[in-house]
Structure formats: structure tokens, C-alpha cells
């Protein structure tokens, strides 16, 4: 679907990461892997360092910290929040939903709506569309969008293809109604026929935990996982991104009436350097306009990766002047979302780790 939503403005962004550092090479060596093969993977895929949550920390905790800091820095928008949206694949519980738990933790009034969006790496753009829709046509003055995951806990440590990829983070985004701003343009899509290319086969209602023992099995490359672990078919995910993302980016730019020279940055979901460099080329953007080193500092942060890239790669400029941005998230579903928006100057808080409780 394509949609253009008027009178919306990005007021602020904050990201909170997990506090623990995982080093790809050190972890691989400790697991007995061959140094040459590790260096080859690190170099080609761009796996170096990632920040993961401490024991007991969840996506809700990370997002709550980001939201608390952001709301304190934006008191005017904070006082007008009419809805809380929480995007996650790793909620605290099957029930209740994370948005309601956050609503309670932050002490919002009962007139403030709260709901979850169950998406991963495409989720920030989907959530942004929901927030913009509520502001443009839904009567909301301001919407708090939180997006984050702790996917480092969803993988099997012996799955070398998937386990080293993910960092944990939570983001908070404030979207406000502003008649002088916008429009934002969105292209959203899904390919449900290929949904199982990224999956956690067991643990939901179809195959509940405890119904049968979860037996670990090794694939042809020796990667081990059980049905409760996250599994990605890397080749098919890669083909999906090359097929859908450039088309979505082209479509959203056409919707906005923009061409590459007038766009300040193309901010893609920070999956890994290998995917990003391939996508940047295919989207027709120079490397200088396409941030792609975030994943080497933070890991793949799922739905928090685009806000983290905005803060870390564009922060100084976004805090100072308006930028024309195109962003695209893509992942579980399979789903993708692209947005073209002018943003800035806005409140950007330094990315910070959530220190473990003593």
C-alpha cells in the first residue's frame, strides 16, 4: 500500500542499548572456531562488536529507558501524548501487551491508547506510519512510538549463521501533529507466501512450549538450533531484500516526487554490511549517503536499527536543520516499509546503555 499523511512532524528520538559487549572474533575463538574463517566472515559480513541486554533486561526495559529520557527532554510533546505504540517481536509476555505495560510504567492517563505491532526489522517504519496516521487523521496530538527487541536471546549459541548477528536495543520516537509540517510518504508491503524464511517455529499457539521436547538438530553447515530458536534462511532473506527494498525505495521516492540528488540520506535497516552495501548500490545511492557502519558497533538491532542510525549517523545535522530522508525497514513477515519524510531540527538524545540493576 502507498499513503501520504499530512501535518506530521518528528519531534524527537532516543535509543537505549543493552550494556554488555559481545565481540565476534573473541566469541568465535572461545567457541573453538578457526581464526581465518572468523576473520573472513567478520570482513565480508561486517560482524565486529554488538551490544546485548544484561540478564533480566527486556525490550520493554530498554524502550522504557529511551522513552523516559525522551519525554523528559520534550515536555510539550510529552504532555500531549494520546497514544503509545510498541513494536516488538520479543514482548515481556504473551499477554498483556508491551504497550500497555509501558503505559502503566510511565503513568499515562487512561485516555491514552496503547497497542502493539508484532513486527521486527520493518517495524519502525510500520509503527511510524501508524503514529503518523493517528496524528494526521486519528485525533492524536502526539504519539509515543517505541520499537525494540532482544533478539540476541532468540538464537541458539551454536547457530553460527544467526547467533552473531543481533544486538539488543529499544528506541523511542515522538511524532506530533503539526499543520505546518509533512506530508510523510509511505510504501508498505508484505510477502506472506514466504513468511517462514524467517521464523521461530515453536513457542506460539500452533506449537506451544512443552507439548513435545525441543530437540536440537544441525543443518548442512553444522549450525545447531531447536524449534524454539530463531532461524533465518540467509540466501532467501538476501534475495528478498534485493528484490523488494530497491523497488520500495524507488516507489516512495516517486510518491514524494524526489530523486537521489535531493535526498540527504537513505537510511536502511542495519542488517549487516554485506546486505547494506548491496542494497545501497541497487538503490542508486552513493555510499556516503547510506549509513552502514552501525551494525559493526551495535549489531543488528531489529526495529531499533533505523532510529539508532538516524541518531548515530545523522545526529548532528538532524539536530540542526531539516533533512530529506528516505528510510526502509525489511524483515520478518516477510515485510517491508519505506518512508520519505523531511525531518529536523529535532531533539536527539545520545544513545546510552541501560546499566543492569544492582
Amino acid at each position: 500500500m502507498q499513503t501520504s499523511l499530512p501535518a506530521v512532524r518528528l519531534a524527537g528520538l532516543a535509543v537505549t542499548t543493552g550494556p554488555l559487549v559481545r565481540d565476534f572474533l573473541a566469541d568465535g575463538l572461545a567457541a573453538g572456531q578457526e581464526p581465518g574463517a572468523l576473520e573472513r566472515t567478520a570482513r565480508t559480513v561486517g560482524l565486529r562488536r554488538r551490544l546485548v541486554a544484561a540478564p533480566g533486561q527486556t525490550a520493554l526495559d530498554l524502550c522504557a529507558d529511551a522513552a523516559t529520557r525522551l519525554l523528559a527532554a520534550c515536555p510539550e510533546a510529552a504532555a500531549q501524548v494520546d497514544a503509545v505504540i510498541f513494536v516488538t517481536q520479543t514482548p515481556d509476555h504473551a499477554q498483556p501487551n508491551n504497550a500497555s505495560l509501558l503505559h502503566g510504567r510511565l503513568g499515562f492517563a487512561r485516555t491514552v491508547a496503547a497497542y502493539d505491532v508484532a513486527l521486527g526489522c520493518s517495524g519502525w517504519v510500520y509503527g511510524l506510519q501508524q503514529a503518523a496516521l493517528l496524528c494526521a487523521h486519528g485525533g492524536a496530538r502526539s504519539v509515543l512510538l517505541c520499537a525494540g527487541d532482544t533478539l540476541s536471546r532468540s538464537t541458539n549459541p551454536r547457530d553460527r549463521a544467526t547467533d552473531p548477528l543481533f544486538g539488543d536495543a529499544g528506541s523511542a520516537t515522538l511524532v506530533v501533529r503539526d499543520p505546518a509540517a509533512g506530508p510523510w510518504h509511505f510504501v508498505l508491503g508484505a510477502d506472506g507466501a514466504r513468511a517462514r524464511v524467517i521464523e521461530v517455529p515453536a513457542g506460539g499457539a500452533r506449537s506451544p512450549r512443552g507439548r513435545e521436547p525441543w530437540v536440537e538438530r544441525a543443518d548442512a553447515d553444522g549450525n545447531v538450533r531447536h524449534p524454539g530458536d530463531l532461524h533465518m534462511d540467509g540466501a532467501e532473506v538476501f534475495n528478498f531484500t534485493l528484490r523488494e527494498v530497491p523497488a520500495a525505495v524507488a516507489d516512495v521516492m516517486a510518491l514524494a516526487g524526489w530523486t537521489e540528488p535531493v535526498v540527504d540520506a537513505l537510511v536502511l535497516h542495519q542488517a549487516n554490511r554485506f546486505v547494506l552495501s548491496s542494497l545501497g548500490r541497487k538503490c542508486g545511492f552513493p555510499a556516503a549517503k547510506t549509513p552502514m557502519d552501525l551494525v559493526e558497533r551495535f549489531g543488528n538491532q531489529s526495529s531499533a536499527s533505523i532510529p539508532c542510525a538516524l541518531v548515530e549517523a545523522l545526529g548532528p545535522e538532524l539536530g540542526r536543520r531539516p533533512l530529506r530522508l528516505v528510510a526502509c525497514g525489511f524483515g520478518v513477515g516477510l515485510s517491508w516499509g519505506a518512508v520519505a519524510l523531511t525531518a529536523g531540527p529535532l531533539t536527539l538524545l545520545p544513545t546510552a546503555p541501560l546499566l543492569p540493576s544492582p
Binding site: A37, R40, D221, G234, E236, F238, F274, S278, R281
Partner: protein
């Protein structure tokens, strides 16, 4: 080996490190190469897309037994 096959094989070896280290002949068995893994499959898919505009699936690449099979996929 035809000149077209030679060119495709040389280009593939230049892009895919697992193949660069392999013997030069097209009868090279892929399964015996130490770095013939999921990352090598991704690199072949990327090369096919960038050099020839062809979309290969992981299953197609994994089904190849020899370098000749890979080159045939690109033809």
C-alpha cells in the same frame, strides 16, 4: 572449456573467496572446498545478481556439485 565459460569462471573466482582458493578446473568438487559454506552461497548469489542480473536461490546454488554446474547456472 569455452571462452565464455572461462570468463564466467574467472569472474566468479574473483568474487567468491571459497572458489579463489580452489583448483582452476571446472571439475572441481565444491563440497570438498574448505570455505564452501552459507557465506560462499551468498557471495555467488550476489555475483549472479550484480554481474548478470540473475536471481539465484540458495537451493539452486547448493544443488551445484562442481564448478561447471555453477558456471552453467550463470549461463
Amino acid at each position: 572449456m569455452s571462452s565464455s565459460e572461462e570468463r564466467r569462471w574467472a569472474a566468479l573466482r574473483a568474487e567468491v573467496d571459497a572458489l579463489a582458493a580452489a583448483p582452476a578446473g571446472l571439475d572441481t568438487a565444491l563440497a570438498g572446498l574448505p570455505q564452501w559454506d552459507s557465506l560462499a552461497v551468498l557471495l555467488v548469489i550476489t555475483h549472479a545478481e550484480q554481474a548478470y542480473g540473475r536471481t539465484l536461490t540458495g537451493a539452486q546454488v547448493r544443488a551445484c556439485r562442481t564448478a561447471r554446474d555453477l558456471v552453467a547456472l550463470l549461463s
